[in-house]
């Protein structure tokens, strides 16, 4: 009996080890080429030089198309890329909310993905060796993209002097605005030009509340967010909704944002609004978004940051917000830090077996309008129609959910935004304005610095939890800042905020010295 048990355990262990080796020994084969079937015609012909295959993984918000439909788009792209750069592309659209996990899983599992992007986690991708160092091959394979993006922005995607990817080239400079009901403003004769900061908004809200007691003046942008963000803060690689050590002002000194007077001011303002019934009570837990709330007609305005000029923003939001007449007023100014630029960075996978081909294709997504529009909109006349002056719209009677292929909503995450066909109803001049904003917005003194959090992983998770617990209530005014902020700060200290700040300062100083 004992012997049997021993043999059994031995067998188990042997199996585990065997299994482990079997799984890794198998070379990184590609999946049975699903696209190979439909593009069978092309490879069958004689080709003088080998065509390299590149798998391009991009995030999509629309429905995932079937393999056959995808193959048609791939074929259209390949017709161009085969001649231009000797590459055949396999498109891999992945749902946005699972994008990072899917790419991570695929790469861990040894699947072929050559080009993918970061969603706010470039520093993690670099520190875990997920992306390739392209410093050496960028000049030969992607000089056009490099020139387009420019040294300044590319600095945001470097670490230790090495370049790791290209940031999505699109309007990044976001300006804080208040989006309000134009019809109510007109009815009450309010002059919105006097509103130049968040504090100025209060007066307007009170006026509206007095005139329409049943209406709640301020709607939340989404859960836990009233749009009250501070100006000119560099978040040093963290999300602006969970900052753990920031730069405020022009000094290279890392401070705790939550201990700053600016934060206290914002919380007090929110609390003030809450007490005066100027803001929705359950902003901290709502499951609705600003558009939904505005569409219901019970709210007057909301505060958020947009990249388009005022008039455009208002016009483009009207449809989503229930068709009401909307206006927009800028109350802040744009500020760019490293993470605003590198939030969406396109990288070549470190495990790629065709890095140069991958980089060449990536270059095309930044410079070739045909390819970009194929990826975004699909096939002309089947998935979209183009008007004479170059505006895109869906074919008669169809929309984003019924056409065979569309990835229209990825326009903000893919390659070069400015070479995509504009959708019908957008203002072309604003594109120029946005481009100019990109260049002229105030930038942080620490532009180009990314923080590697491996040394403080434990503190990071602990602090993240504390922030999740306290932040929403504070910035939505549902708790009293006077009592809560001290508790919050204490819990942060207990969770290790100090250690994170110290580590950031060390890395920042080293980076500054290295410049």
């Amino acid at each position: 009996m004992k012997l049997t048990k021993r043999l059994f355990v031995l067998a188990m262990v042997a199996l585990m080890v065997f299994g482990a080796f079997a799984c890794t020994a198998a070379p990184a084969t590609t999946e049975p080429a699903a696209e190979g079937d439909s593009t069978a015609a092309a490879p069958a012909t004689e080709e003088p030089k080998a065509i390299e295959k590149v798998v391009y993984a991009y995030a999509t918000f629309n429905n995932i198309p079937t393999e056959e439909t995808l193959a048609t788009v791939e074929e259209a792209i390949n017709a161009i890329t085969r001649d231009k750069i000797g590459v055949e592309v396999e498109l891999k659209p992945i749902v946005i909310w699972d994008y990072s996990s899917t790419v991570s899983l695929a790469l861990q599992g040894g699947e072929k993905i050559d080009v993918f992007q970061s969603l706010g986690d470039l520093s993690t991708a670099i520190s875990t060796d997920m992306c390739l160092d392209i410093t050496d091959i960028v000049d030969t394979c992607a000089p056009e993209a490099k020139a387009l993006i420019g040294e300044n922005w590319l600095a945001a995607c470097t670490s230790g002097g090495k370049l790791y990817g290209f940031p999505t080239y699109k309007p990044i400079a976001l300006t804080q605005m208040v989006i309000y009901r134009q019809d109510i403003v007109d009815a009450l004769g309010i002059d919105m030009s006097t509103v130049n900061s968040v504090a100025d908004v209060t007066a307007v809200l009170e006026q509206v509340k007095a005139a329409y007691p049943d209406m709640t003046p301020v709607a939340a942008v989404n859960q836990g967010n009233l749009g009250l963000s501070p100006q000119n803060v560099d978040y040093l690689t963290d999300s602006m909704y969970a900052p753990k050590g920031v730069l405020m002002g022009d000094e290279l000194t890392v401070v705790d944002y939550f201990a700053s007077p600016e934060f206290a001011t914002i919380c007090n303002l929110a609390r003030d609004w809450y007490n005066k019934d100027l803001v929705m009570k359950d902003a901290a837990t709502t499951s609705s978004t600003a558009a939904e709330l505005m569409a219901s007609g019970n709210y007057f305005c909301y505060i958020a940051s947009y990249s388009y000029p005022e008039a455009d923003t208002a016009a483009s939001l009207e449809a989503q917000c229930g068709g009401f007449d909307l206006g927009a007023k800028t109350i802040g100014s744009a500020f760019l830090d490293t993470s605003s630029i590198n939030a969406l960075t396109w990288m070549v996978a470190s495990t790629s077996d065709a890095p140069e081909a991958a980089l060449k294709f990536l270059n095309l997504t930044f410079t070739d309008p045909e390819i970009t529009n194929l990826i975004i909109y699909g096939l002309k006349d089947r998935d979209y129609v183009l008007s004479d002056d170059g505006f895109m719209s869906y074919p008669e009677g169809q929309d984003a959910t019924t056409v065979p292929y569309t990835s229209q909503l990825s326009c903000g995450t893919l390659g070069n935004f400015f070479i995509m066909y504009p959708m019908a109803g957008t203002n072309v001049e604003s594109l120029a304005w946005e481009l100019e904003q990109n260049q002229s917005a105030k930038t942080s003194v620490a532009m180009g610095f990314t923080f590697d959090n491996s040394a403080v992983k434990t503190e990071y998770t602990a602090v993240a939890n504390v922030i999740e617990q306290y932040l929403f209530g504070l910035v939505c005014g549902s708790v009293d800042p006077a009592t809560e902020i001290p508790v919050f700060l204490e819990r942060l200290a207990d969770a290790g905020m100090g250690a994170i700040i110290a580590e950031k300062q060390t890395q920042l100083d080293a980076w500054a010295a290295g410049k």
Partner: protein, 341 residues
Amino acid sequence: MYLREREGYIPLRSRIRAKAPAPRKNLRPEGRLSMTKKKKKQQRASSAPLLLIAAPGILYLLINNYIPMFGVFLAFKDFNYRKGIFGSAWCGLDNFKFLFKTHDAWVMTRNTLLYNFAFIIIGTIAAIFVAVLMYELGQRSRVKFFQSIMLLPNLLSWVVIGFIVYAFLNADTGFINNTVLKALNIEPISWYSTTKPWPFILIVTFLWKYVGVNSIIYMASISGIDKGIFEAAQLDGATKMQQIFRITLPMLKPTIIILTLMSIGRIFYSDFGLFYQVPQNSGRLFEVTQTIDTYVYHGLMELKNIGMSAAAALYQSVVGFLLVLGANALVRKVDRENALF
């Protein structure tokens, strides 16, 4: 076959009076499977065909569960994509630190344990209660009707259930605040900011989703009880309640034990959807709604550290494993054949 002819028969009355069927020494208490040593020797020989029958299942578990266990190594590694699972550097117990170091770690552990205890105890009682009631309904159509209704909640995903709870509890337009409390003239309560009622809310939601499904297990077990015992009891004058408490419940003991043991093994796991979606991820409620799974999720959303998530999973497994070994050993001492192994 009459009761009286069965081996080791005990007169009916004493069976009813006894709190539970007395453990009979001559009859192996594993239900009614009993045998003598001689028979044992004869039947041991037939292991091979039995193994053959079990083979597909064994093979599947090997492939699906055992071989992939090498993934456990990730918990001890500092994962690097270029080097892969086997090339990445070992980092000892570093990845486990975040599970212990802070105040929150203690809170999440306490919550997970307490909720699971509550679920096991209350869930079992509720499921048995419903099962007994449904079984006694007799008429097939009624059973069909009630059972279909009870299964409906299980078909809804936690995201949807989160919306439903929100529909009842949200401060501005929730059903409770708007309709119920208004009618009773009570001030509206900000449910998502008050921690006190949430253990209750979460337990009720849990029961709502699972009592129908769980009661089915018990119904199947009850249906396996020999009808003859009930008839005899009835003949001897036992009331329905007596029959339930003296016959049905004790006969359910093996099932209860097995299910409880299995639940103990999962005691460090929590139903993520329940604790994340239903409280709408409201930070103010974390003290009572944070469990290990949600803590790991929050912590690793930003970090996306593969080693740390693997470490958390391993932590949950090991604790559950140790607890179940302990519980199983206990059960073996008291009631040997009902232990899991």
